[in-house]
């Protein structure tokens, strides 16, 4: 019990400090989730504490994932009003993004002969963490790898996404928002939201719907690929 409480307090304290560091520095790379993980792992190894011991408390934070997913219904409700007449085409574009995200990572993973759990984790990298972790658990992925893959995809898109789009001649703010949201979920959305409201709105639209499409498609693709 004491171990559990201590590890929760320890995690909250480190996360808060990292969030503070990012707020004052405003650098996407200093993601508080990533920083906390990179600080906690060496500390545990150094202190000879196993993940199992740490997770007696950590699991309580993981339990909160489910209500977090439900809470995402709020931005979904706010974005649904955006859809209006264009909904068919917008959803089709986001669906295309989810298909590219899943099939490309599964294909590369099979070509490089990675195991099924690793492939599952990689296929979930483009969607928002709470939903991805739920799917990862359900589909037998490596949850830790899923979490890290998501952060990596997020930071990559937040940093390189817009320069790549500019290079390809994609200048429309709605198109840029959709693209970054589809590839880099919440991290990308937070970054492009600073450019314009339109960027942010279309990015979060892509963020929410790619997660729903991925939840529906991914189990299918994985069972086909590893049949």
């Amino acid at each position: 019990m004491t171990t559990a409480l201590l590890s929760i307090l320890f995690t909250l304290l480190i996360y808060q400090s990292c969030a503070y560091v990012q707020r004052i520095s405003a650098v996407a790379l200093l993601n508080p989730m990533l920083l906390s993980i990179l600080i906690i792992i060496p500390l545990l190894i150094f202190g000879d504490i196993s993940f199992e011991q740490y997770n007696t408390g950590g699991q309580f934070l993981s339990y909160l994932l489910e209500p977090c997913v439900v809470a995402l219904g709020f931005p979904l409700y706010e974005q649904a009003r955006q859809l209006k007449k264009q909904w068919r085409m917008l959803l089709a574009i986001i669906l295309l993004g989810a298909v590219v995200a899943i099939t490309s990572s599964v294909l590369f993973a099979i070509l490089l002969q990675l195991s099924q759990p690793v492939t599952v984790s990689l296929a979930l990298k483009s969607i928002t963490t709470p939903i991805a972790l739920e799917l990862s658990t359900a589909m037998g992925g490596v949850n830790a790898l899923t979490a890290l893959a998501i952060i990596f995809a997020g930071i990559l898109g937040a940093v390189l996404g817009r320069p790549l789009l500019m290079l390809l001649g994609v200048t429309n703010p709605k198109a840029q928002g959709l693209a970054i949201g589809a590839g880099s979920h919440a991290l990308g959305t937070a970054t492009v939201s600073q450019i314009s409201f339109e960027h942010g709105a279309y990015s979060s639209l892509a963020l929410i719907f790619s997660a729903i499409f991925t939840a529906a498609l991914c189990p299918w693709v994985i069972s086909l690929a590893f049949a």
Binding site: F51, C68, I93, L122, P130, L148, L165, L168, A215
Partner: protein, 118 residues
């Protein structure tokens, strides 16, 4: 705060029952869709829930930390295939951004053009 907690846990409970009955998506995803529908229909009052949601969004990240710390049990995986994994993530992410960006740009330039000429 209490109202928001009640709405969220109510939707989660119904979502879990739905998963138990029909399967498919995880229960929390059914809960999320149900939550959005209830807000849209005015069954739950959005302005009362909004402040709590903002709080949740700000601190959600800490809930993912223990899952990531679990990587310490898989360090050999990173040692053996970390480079491949990173390459796949990078390539696939850039492919998604490029594809969605190009298709959306094409679509919006057409639809905006149509609106301008009408």
């Amino acid at each position: 705060m209490l109202y928001a907690a009640l709405c969220i846990s109510g939707c989660l409970a119904v979502g879990k029952i739905l998963f138990w009955l029909v399967g498919g998506l995880p229960g929390s995803l059914y809960g999320m869709i149900l939550f959005a529908v209830c807000l849209h229909r005015g069954l739950m009052r959005a302005e009362k829930i909004k402040p709590t949601i903002h709080g949740i969004m700000r601190f959600m990240g800490v809930c993912f930390v223990p899952a990531g710390v679990g990587m310490m049990d898989h360090l050999s995986l990173l040692q053996n295939s970390g480079a491949m994994i990173a390459a796949i993530i990078a390539l696939s992410t850039l492919m998604v951004i490029a594809t969605v960006g190009l298709v959306a740009q094409h679509y919006f330039s057409q639809s905006d053009h149509k609106r301008d000429t009408n």
